[in-house]
Amino acid sequence: MTELTKTGAAVGEPSSGGEVPRAFLDVRDLKVHFPTDDGLVKSVDGLSFQLEKGQTLGIVGESGSGKSVTSLAIMGLHRLGNRGKNVRMSGEIWLDGKELVSASPDEVRRLRGHDMAMIFQDPLSAMHPYYTVGNQIVEAYRVHHDVDKKTARRRAVELLDRVGIPEPDKRVNSYPHEFSGGMRQRAMIAMALVNNPELLIADEPTTALDVTVQAQILDLIRDLQKEFGSAVIIITHDLGVVAEIADDILVMYGGRCVERGPVDTIFYEPQHPYTWGLLGSMPRIDREQTDRLIPVKGQPPSLINVPSGCAFNPRCPYADVPKGGITRTERPELREVGGRHFTACHLPQEDRTRIWNEEIAPKL
């Protein structure tokens, strides 16, 4: 117990049995499946990770790898209204000592917006076109705080100012369509931060933005995190973005984590062939011009028919290195390969190190 309090994370008593969580956000064996007419879509299939306050976790992966579904699951957004009937969720999500998967919708609603908030990719569709930006921020504030409209409005102006919107006392009365893309994203960040959430999830926050605006927004998120000390999850397909902002990286493939570790380890000593593939696919602006990119062959897997064994095996150039076809029959478990560095791969450690050092790293 002393060890737990040292992390400063385990505050509330767990409502059900099982091990008390150690981290501020502790996701354990999370599964999110959607039954459809074509079969069961296993969007997230056994994902575990931890995140402390003040830390940033970058989740990277291709479309359909389950990154967004994970974030929606943490926010409890899969179970809203009728949608709850079409999803099967299992596992545990511990946020500050409270378990969210088994919590009632009302309990999750009290946390959503207050303890955890989300920034979406497309602010134009995430904001209501019929209400002014100010009204939407005021609403988010008043749901969780018993204050009059005037106070809430002052708070909205204060936050618009904080996220760098010029003339916030005027722009608070603007509608979302009157803002440019970058300003809308700032307004949405203001809305997410209005209740000082301890967990902020940003789902592709800069994908729809131009590169100069992206730089502004990433800077803003970084500054705000320093100021508010929240835990941040940033979901993106852009390895450049995570390299700039994340402390830890989680690489997802086919609904599972294939590699997880501190940002330096993932970039300089990656252990999973898929991570190698991602690094090789990227044209690098900071390096000498290479003649060719090294793409990953084939297509991302269907989540209804995830390949047996390691989900990456049909695209993996090293699938036949481990003997006995184990890559096709047995699903690799996430194993620690170094300090806080985990990977799920059947390749023997020495082969992985050798391949990375001799075959992959020189070509990047």
């Binding site: 291709e62 479309s63 010029p166 440019s180 893309g181 970058g182 300003m183 131009d210 590169v211 100069t212 605006v213 992206q214 730089a215 502004q216 990433l218 800077d219 397909h237 852009d238 390895l239 450049g240 973005v241 390299a243 700039e244 940002v263 330096d264 970039f267 593939g277 991602l278 690094l279 090789g280 696919s281 990227m282 044209p283 690098r284 602006i285 900071d286 390096r287 000498e288 011009q289 290479t290 060719r292 990119l293 090294i294 793409p295 990953v296 062959k297 297509q299 991302p300």
Partner: protein, 406 residues
């Protein structure tokens, strides 16, 4: 027929300099804004506002810029999907500026387009066979060995299986659809392919496949590409020369290596510095980043003089009053700026910064400013020394953006 032309075009290097494949002069496109009952014109969106460039045979010209800078409009103008409001477009010596639909038809064989959205650009009710054979049907071309065989050859060429002939677009993933779009564009053996954001809708691993495919096809078929994209890393990878656009103007046009090694226009410099670098150890070097203030101004009423002066940290009075021409300051590097980076100042007498520039400079790290002043001075000194000696050495004075080697 056109095939032999292209081959000749790529091999005959001597032709390259004096006869570009595409020549654009003073190209303008204004979209009118109409209002009221009488639909009177009250203004215009100046999407493309006077640009000059040429595309050489067999090269890849990359066009970069932020959304709203007019790069896509430019692409649609040179393929003549839009009618220009002014200027001149010459394709292979023929003036195509105001050709009608009928007049353009023979040229459609030579100029093809690849679109951004692989979902929107393929008719969902047509099979892949119908889609890829449409160019043959429309142009009345009967390829050797029949249409079906040719289509299947094209599908193989872009890395799809010939059995996909009878399938529908929804059965394919984004990357595969983009390959179908490429196959269609290549059906008539065009000489120039204009690709508008060809890979931005694709996942990273698939993006690399398509970039490599386009690369191979260029080598194999001697294609000339105009690639419009916002991703500066991708553009650097694929292009020979790059045009940077800002608010309907080309602000810098240079060969790839000069542009990335020593950008001259402050906007290019800011754009390059904003690209997130996938290398966590460079995070410490973040101070190199130039943050631009605010947003791109509206193309309905673009700023006077140099259009970048409202956000530029070097802007002076002359920038506000006089529009800088796009001139070749260094061999192969054309820049439209009064106070270029990494080069001699073009308006040294004008030193008083605008108040907006002072605010903008507050966002730029001191080291960057100091270094830029230093390099400019060094280049100026070098230039005068060179004038005196008339020596042939032309070392670019800048090493600031030199990529690390590991």
């Amino acid at each position: 027929m056109s095939e032999t032309d292209t081959r000749a075009g790529t091999t005959a290097v001597t032709d390259d300099d004096d006869k570009p494949l595409l020549k654009v002069e003073g190209l303008v496109k204004h979209f009118p804004i109409k209002k009221g009952l009488l639909q009177r014109q009250v203004g215009a969106v100046k999407a493309v506002d006077g640009i000059d460039f040429e595309v050489r045979r067999g090269e890849t010209l990359g066009v970069v810029g932020e959304s709203g800078c007019g790069k896509s409009t430019m692409g649609r103008l040179i393929t003549r999907l839009l009618e220009p409001s002014g200027g001149k477009i010459e394709f292979d010596g023929t003036d195509i500026t105001h050709l009608g639909t009928g007049g353009m038809r023979p040229l459609r064989r030579d100029v093809q387009m690849i679109f951004q959205d692989p979902y929107g650009s393929l008719n969902p009710r047509h099979t892949i066979g119908t889609i890829v054979s449409a160019p043959f049907r429309l142009q009345g071309v009967e390829p050797e060995g029949g249409v079906k065989q040719e289509v299947q050859r094209l599908l193989e060429l872009v890395g799809l299986s010939p059995e996909h002939y009878n399938r529908y677009p929804h059965e394919f993933s984004g990357g595969q659809r983009q390959r179908i779009g490429i196959a269609r564009a290549l059906a008539l053996k065009p000489r120039m392919v204009v690709a508008d954001e060809p890979v931005s809708a694709l996942d990273v691993s698939i993006q690399a496949q398509v970039v490599n495919l386009m690369d191979d096809l260029q080598d194999e078929l001697g294609l000339t590409y105009v690639i419009i994209a916002h991703d500066l890393s991708v553009v650097r990878h694929v292009s020979d020369r790059i045009a940077v656009m800002y608010l309907g103007k080309i602000v810098e046009l240079a060969d790839r290596d000069s542009l990335y090694a020593s950008p001259m226009h402050p906007y290019t410099k800011a754009l390059l510095s904003a690209v997130p670098i996938p290398d966590p150890r460079r995070r410490a070097a973040k101070s190199e980043r130039i943050l631009l203030r605010g947003d791109v101004p509206s193309p309905i009423a673009p700023p006077s003089g140099c259009r970048f002066h409202t956000r530029c940290w070097k802007a002076t009075q002359i920038c506000k009053s006089t529009e800088p021409p796009l001139i070749e300051l260094r061999p192969g590097q054309r820049v439209a700026c009064h106070h270029p980076e990494n080069f001699e100042d073009q308006a040294p007498q004008d030193t008083v910064l605008l108040s907006a520039a002072k605010e903008a400079a507050a966002l730029v790290a001191d080291e960057v400013l100091a270094e830029s002043a230093q390099t400019s001075a060094a280049v100026a000194a070098e230039a005068s020394a060179k004038e005196a000696e008339d020596s042939a050495s032309k070392e670019p004075g800048d090493t600031s953006k030199e990529p690390g080697d590991k």
